[in-house]
Symmetry: C2
Subunit: 269 residues, 2 copies
């Protein structure tokens, strides 16, 4: 079986795409009278030749209770033969407990990658990294307004001063023994994205925040990709999956995804 | 219906206790051939007159898939009339998504309080705080070895330099408009606990890390309580719920809980 990186590279090549679609089911935005799983399947069928990955944010599923939990698993099952599935769970807990989270996401639910929060330090992330065939994306500079509250504080470490998010990136790079660590950096902060990319030329970046959150697509792509126009995953959720609320929601999603993929490709080079 | 603080105060008074029991079901440590829910019910029945709260760490439940999710809900239902239940989920996500997490924990699952991670800043925590009748514990200085990686970095803010965890505590205090915010500070770092308590004399502290994690109970209690010997919740999980693996697991848990409660009370004054 392919590991996360192989799967990602294969899908990127085959579909000529850095686009990741966020499958975040929201009953207030979904077409009427459709279940989560049917909705996801229709979006996946309509877009699976256009993406390099899918990302499922756990919050939207947990809001449905145990049905949502099943939907996470079935959706991952439905996708995962060709396209990698990222579990956007932003987990972190003390070592013993982080092990249980990693097991839940990677073993029970079968995701290919997960997002994790760095605040608790190494032993909260290590159990995820130990799954060497899985991808681990550490939150670095997030796309929300509050991200500046702590992530941008200037901190002193190793006789220099740098914003916290850069120190997180440095640590992530040190921890990247197996080459399965990436960073989450929001499209809403292109300067920070540029700083991270120039310091960590080979790190895989997961970039949310284009579309509904207002990140500029041109800046996000040109600041985020590596020298070969790769190593970046550009995520969009609402802009694509809620392109229409009518019966044509899947074909509308396909159109929106196709347009965004092409736009991203224009700025890759 | 009582809000979180009222429920906590009532249970603290009635049971003369600052002890919180962590219900973290681990099949490798539980008695053979017992389900999670039966295990939890037996522990709860054996200890409900000895505690001020119960805390459920979501990781241990999610590792069981959708059955675990149901167990979270049924356990909270079983407890919650008299004793507050803390959902130890350590969540945080961008505003729109954090709303879904808050809804899942407080509305769908019916917990009285939740733990949240500060790395994403205010808008990731605000949707939790907006449930004014619920408690919100912000991770400040966690009990694990890796907590020093970032939480202890000296940061510059407002023309002064302080460790990140202290700046988190300061922000939490500013955000505490409704009086429903508390902090998580590990028993394994009594100096930091003392620093937080002396600066935030009236803040409620959730203190994990005694017992299996090695935190000194005397130091944790004397550094953690306020001037009246209150405003601290001392959590213990493994030391109590796995006191025995035999048929006597519930009575053994009762003995261990009773001993720890009395020990805590000795150091409160």
């Amino acid at each position: 079986m392919m590991d996360f990186t192989e799967k990602l590279n294969a899908a990127t090549e085959k579909n000529e795409s850095l686009l990741c679609i966020g499958l975040d089911p929201d009953p207030e935005l979904m077409p009427d009278r459709i279940g989560i799983l049917d909705f996801n399947r229709a979006i996946i069928d309509a877009t699976r030749d256009l993406v390099c990955a899918y990302k499922l944010n756990f919050a939207f599923y947990e809001a449905f209770g145990s049905d949502g939990f099943d939907a996470l698993r079935f959706t991952a099952d439905y996708i995962r033969d060709e396209i990698p599935v990222i579990g956007d769970a932003k987990r972190a807990d003390i070592g013993n407990t982080a092990k249980a989270y990693a097991r839940a996401i990677f073993s029970s639910l079968g995701f290919d990658a997960a997002t994790v929060n760095p605040y608790l330090g190494f032993d909260a992330i290590e159990p995820f990294i130990e799954y060497r065939d899985k991808g681990v994306f550490i939150l670095c500079r997030t796309s929300n307004p509050g991200s500046a509250d702590f992530q941008s504080l200037n901190c002193n470490a190793n006789n220099e001063t740098a914003p916290l998010f850069e120190l997180v990136a440095d640590k992530a790079s040190q921890w990247n023994e197996y080459g399965n660590i990436g960073l989450v950096v929001g499209a809403t902060c292109p300067e920070e994205l540029k700083a991270i990319r120039s310091k960590h030329s080979d790190m895989l970046l997961l970039i949310p925040g284009v579309g509904a959150q207002g990140g500029d697509i041109k800046k996000a792509v040109s600041s985020g990709v590596d020298a070969n126009g790769k190593k970046a995953i550009i995520n969009s959720s609402r802009q694509i999956i809620y392109a229409s609320r009518g019966k044509d929601f899947d074909s509308a999603a396909r159109k929106a995804a196709s347009r965004l993929r092409d736009q991203i490709n224009r700025y890759r080079k």
